[in-house]
Amino acid sequence: MVGAGAVPLTEETVPGQVKLGVRDLRISYNHVTALEDVNFDIHEHEIFGIIGPANAGKTSFLKAINRMDMFTPEMKVEGKITFNSVDVSRIRNVYGLRSRIGVVFPLPVGLPLSIYDNVALSPRLRGQNNRAELDIIVERCLTRAALWDEVKDRLDSLGSMLSGGQQQRLTIARALSQDPEMLMLDEFSIAVDPVTTMRIEDVLKELRKEVTIILVTNLVQQARRLADRTAFFLDGRCVEVGITEDLFTGEVKDQRTRDYVEGRFG
């Protein structure tokens, strides 16, 4: 799934291969450590959950993958993150990296553009200006994000004026318009009602056939419903990584993991 006009980062990737490798990752802000001791691989077509209380370093982790530390001078990333076996810190064309990774934020960010332009933005950034092509992309992405039926008659109205749940599906459609190889969702359900949350979860289950998904969530049960494997971040450390179901059935290395998934703290 390489986007039109994008330059491949590496040779053809084989399904089931390691999509994202993390070794000895340490992230600090002004020399204060925010996250360290992160070591795991995320495989292609996997839904990888990350759970943990606030300030565990989950969002910093996503930022480091996407090289967003570039925009935060006080943020420092050490260790190694590989995407398609390429060390992301060595990628000169960070735009190529970011366009392969779709991001969905906790609070939906509907850009102050029309619904159509929100979804067409990423293809346009890559130089796609053919209206007919864009029409197809917009309809396909909105359909896959389960929003098409609600907005197909008003594609010209403002994306930022949709309801919270609709905006979040719009941002998912926008992320999909990048033709991403990986999707990172950061607590996407915070501002979304339960019904919409379930709809988006269904969308994610469908999407895993095509993309690798990192699901950062504050809902332990959401990780259980969706994630194949889950990592537990606590106080800036990755305490545990394992098959999601094991975390819930007690096959854990660390007692704190168990306490957290059973709701004893956090």
Binding site: F71, P73, Y95, R98, L111, L121, S122, L125, R174
Partner: protein
């Protein structure tokens, strides 16, 4: 149950007193505005006519119109805008979207604030030194306009930077995350949402530029010229200086004429200000998030 205690009564009296006091102060504030406008309209309106606006002064400026001055002010403002708007907007975009927070940007910001505080007569002398003498533009529209441009640059920069920073950071981050460069983000998301605020700043700059006298006195504005300027290297008449001349420098001036000039000048400024208020209201109605 709800009878007022003595304390309640005292508080109530006190609050009425303060309301009256503060209201009176506010009323006093409006007084000069009303008086100025009232006088100008009362004494100046009879002078205003098609002839007054579109013919030149005659009989040693004691009769005739103000067309050369009106045209001159418009020319000065337009040339000043051509210089200061691109420069100011470029600087503001750089400062708001690109520059990192270090001693250099802080120094630039400090310089901009100080530039705004420099008295206009100092700008005038700088204009003489830099544009009239050093760049050898002579006393000309170009030299006067560039002096005005430098004087009003902080207005454009500050207005632009503020409207850029009013665009939420989350929009930029969303764009960067999908692989947009900083410029693509500015071009597609930030600028379209800041443009009305920038325009408001530009219009305010126009009204400030139109009224200034000191910076143009030595750099390009003349007491009286029999001919209209042919290009930017000519001198020109200007409304603000013309007002000064007809009110103080010419004996035997009919009483109403200076008021007419003042009325035209202030109408221009008020028109511009109303335009900027209308734009801001339009912006508020169109707010997209």
């Amino acid at each position: 149950m709800f009878e007022a205690t003595r304390l309640n009564q005292r508080n109530d009296t006190r609050q009425k007193l303060f309301r009256f006091g503060l209201g009176t102060m506010t009323g006093l504030l409006i007084l000069p505005v009303v008086l100025i406008l009232g006088t100008l309209i009362y004494k100046g309106a009879p002078v205003i006519s098609f002839e007054f606006l579109f013919t030149g002064p005659t009989k040693g400026m004691t009769a005739g119109g103000i067309f050369p001055a009106l045209l001159g002010t418009i020319l000065l403002v337009v040339v000043a805008l051509l210089a200061s708007v691109p420069l100011g907007i470029a600087a503001a975009i750089y400062l708001s979207e690109y520059a990192s927070d270090n001693w250099f940007t802080r120094a630039i910001n400090l310089a901009i604030i100080n530039l705004a505080g420099v008295p206009s007569i100092v700008h005038a002398l700088f204009g003489v030194g830099a544009f009239v003498i050093f760049f050898q533009f002579g006393t000309s529209i170009l030299a006067a306009s560039l002096t005005l441009a430098i004087m009003t640059l902080p207005v454009v920069i500050v207005a632009t930077r503020e409207s850029l920073q009013a665009v939420p950071m989350a929009f930029r981050e969303a764009c960067w995350n999908m692989g947009a460069t900083r410029w693509q983000t500015i071009r597609r998301v930030v600028l379209p949402n800041a443009i009305t605020g920038i325009l408001t700043g530009v219009i305010l700059e126009v009204s400030r530029t139109a009224g200034e006298t000191a910076p143009i006195m030595f750099t390009g504005a003349a007491f009286f010229l029999p001919l209209l300027p042919q290009d930017v290297f000519d001198q020109t008449m200007a409304l603000s200086l013309h007002l000064f001349v007809v009110s103080t420098q010419v004996p035997g001036m009919p009483e109403n004429l200076p008021f007419g000039v003042a009325l035209v000048l202030i109408s221009m400024v008020l028109l511009m200000n109303s335009l900027s208020i209308a734009l801001r209201m339009y912006l508020r109605g169109k707010k997209k998030w």
